[in-house]
Amino acid sequence: MNILICVKRVPATGGRITLTPDEQDIDTRFLGFTVSPHEECAVEEAVRLIEAHGGTSKVLTLGPPEAEEQLRDALAVGIERAILLDSGGHEWDPGATAAAIVEAVRASAEPFDLLLFGNESADSGNYQVGIRVAHALGLPVVTGVKHLELDDGEAVARREAAGGWEVYRVPLPSVVTVREGINLPRYPSVPGRLKAKKKELERREPKFEGNTLEMIRLKLPPGSDKQVDILGTGPDAAPKVVEVLKRIGVA
């Protein structure tokens, strides 16, 4: 079993987003970085599958050199190898991103049995990179997966739908895009972190061929003009809350 997991470095924005003056990016000067919770779960799922079935795993990102941090986070919880595709300072659209990932997959010495993605990236949420990669490689893809098992060379995947769980069964190799909730990711151990720090990363510089979906600028959605009504401080204000609940019609 050989598993590839694709993750994207994104800023860990807190209570509000601030844009850069040219409106091309989020101002990240005071922010840390992370990956989407879906991708964190994809990493965890890979570690568990390898624990259960044996084999090896590799984490991939297309991003700036600093995305090494996100690769090492994955190595720290048990992924074996990592590859950084240097984005060369460009913002790659989903088509270009998928092309770079496909090129790296094709260049890999051993073929992958399973390619895990997040259902959507945290920042741009295009809902498509995994599907595009599957098409280019001629592989089946199941999206939005919240339960995954391997059974006799097939992936049995479930996704949530209005009327219950939909069950899909596809032959390996295949692509699966996962959602948070599929598992509860572990925290890295101290030895895990130390081991991850020393690992050699593979690096490539894919050629940027341009985007077909062209971003003009970012903007913040109109804020609400709500004025908060402070009902009080401490437990003494409880009766006031009940009053409010009554007014709303729920108590």
């Binding site: 739908a161 003494d236 019609g249």
Partner: protein
């Protein structure tokens, strides 16, 4: 033919509500462009809803009838659409940003080698087409442009309200049999597992009592459970809580959790990170209980109580019990 084409999603004959939003949006575009509105439905089971689409201004419904499309098959749906797009040559194709809409459109885009703009909220037809789409689950907006003979878009859920056409059209139903290969059908729903029955589902709850890091541990949720019970609601939580294993992920409200729209959301010990707020901003009223007056959730709430939730919740529960 010049047209706007909309994917009308259904599950074994039941029309998806979000598709009505996509149809409403598609109709608006078609009127701006002065072209007819067409719809595509995959699977014979969709025939039941085909004619009714006239009420949304659809003039022609293309019904992809195929033995293997009785139940959902993403690539099968997409291939049927790709075949139709090749024949019809619409300028714009729209689907809702639902699970299926997003998935089918991504397959179609990949097959046709075209860009797909996901989760749009505003579109100005033209060459290039200009659009506004959501990022970060709706916390940030992006203006983009896209060129090409056919533009593929998905609509951000609830960006527009579904509305019937002022003058309904007589929808002509045109069945066609798409050519599908075995590969197009290898991913499909093979069976279903019933949802767990029981408590009030989070997306439908009229009252949600949410807990965050401030609750302090799994045991702390007993008070939130009791408050939710007294108000006939459900318990929700932040991601810090699910990551710590205090609550299951099904309780998580936010960008990567559930989106709720209750009459009232009572947020206890939650700071109000943007990824949490996109999940609860549709609540009619937000009441925040927080020790920190400057917490973002307090700024975005309708009402707030400043103080320790471990003291406030018991008082609130006692007060409600007195009433009943």
């Amino acid at each position: 033919m010049s047209s706007v084409l909309v994917l009308a999603e259904h599950d074994r004959g039941n029309l998806d509500e979000l598709s009505l939003e996509a149809l409403t949006f598609g109709r608006d575009l078609s009127e701006q462009m002065g072209v007819p509105l067409h719809a595509v439905i995959a699977g014979e089971a969709g025939r039941a809803i085909a004619e009714g689409l006239g009420e949304y201004g659809v003039s022609t419904v293309h019904l992809a009838a195929h033995d293997s499309l009785d139940d959902y098959a993403p690539v099968g749906w997409a291939q049927a659409m790709v075949e139709l797009i090749g024949r019809l040559e619409p300028q714009i194709v729209v689907a809702s940003g639902s699970d299926r809409g997003s998935e089918v459109m991504a397959h179609a885009a990949a097959t046709m080698g075209l860009p797909l703009a996901a989760n749009c909220i505003e579109v100005t037809p033209g060459e290039p087409l200009q659009l506004t789409r959501t990022r970060w689950g709706g916390s940030l907006l992006e203006e983009s442009k896209v060129s090409g003979s056919v533009k593929l878009l998905t609509m951000s859920p609830h960006a527009v309200r579904a509305e019937k056409a002022p003058a309904p059209a007589e929808a002509a139903v045109e069945p066609f049999t798409p050519k599908l290969s075995a590969d197009d059908l290898r991913v499909r729903v093979v069976s279903r597992v019933a949802p767990e029955a029981g408590k009030v589902a989070l997306p439908d709850a009229k009252v949600v009592v949410g807990g965050g890091r401030g609750v302090g541990g799994a045991d702390g949720f007993a008070a939130l459970e009791e408050l939710a019970r007294l108000l006939g609601g459900a318990v929700g939580c932040s991601r810090v809580v699910t990551s710590a294993g205090w609550r299951p992920h099904t309780d998580q409200v936010g960008q990567t959790g559930t989106r709720i729209a209750p009459d009232v959301y009572i947020a206890c010990g939650i700071s109000g990170a943007i990824q949490h707020m996109v999940g609860c901003k549709a609540a009619k009223k937000i009441i925040a209980i927080n020790t920190d007056r400057d917490a973002p959730i307090v700024q975005q709430a309708d009402y707030a109580l400043i103080g320790d939730l471990h003291q406030i919740l018991p008082a609130l529960i006692a007060e409600l019990r007195k009433e009943s």
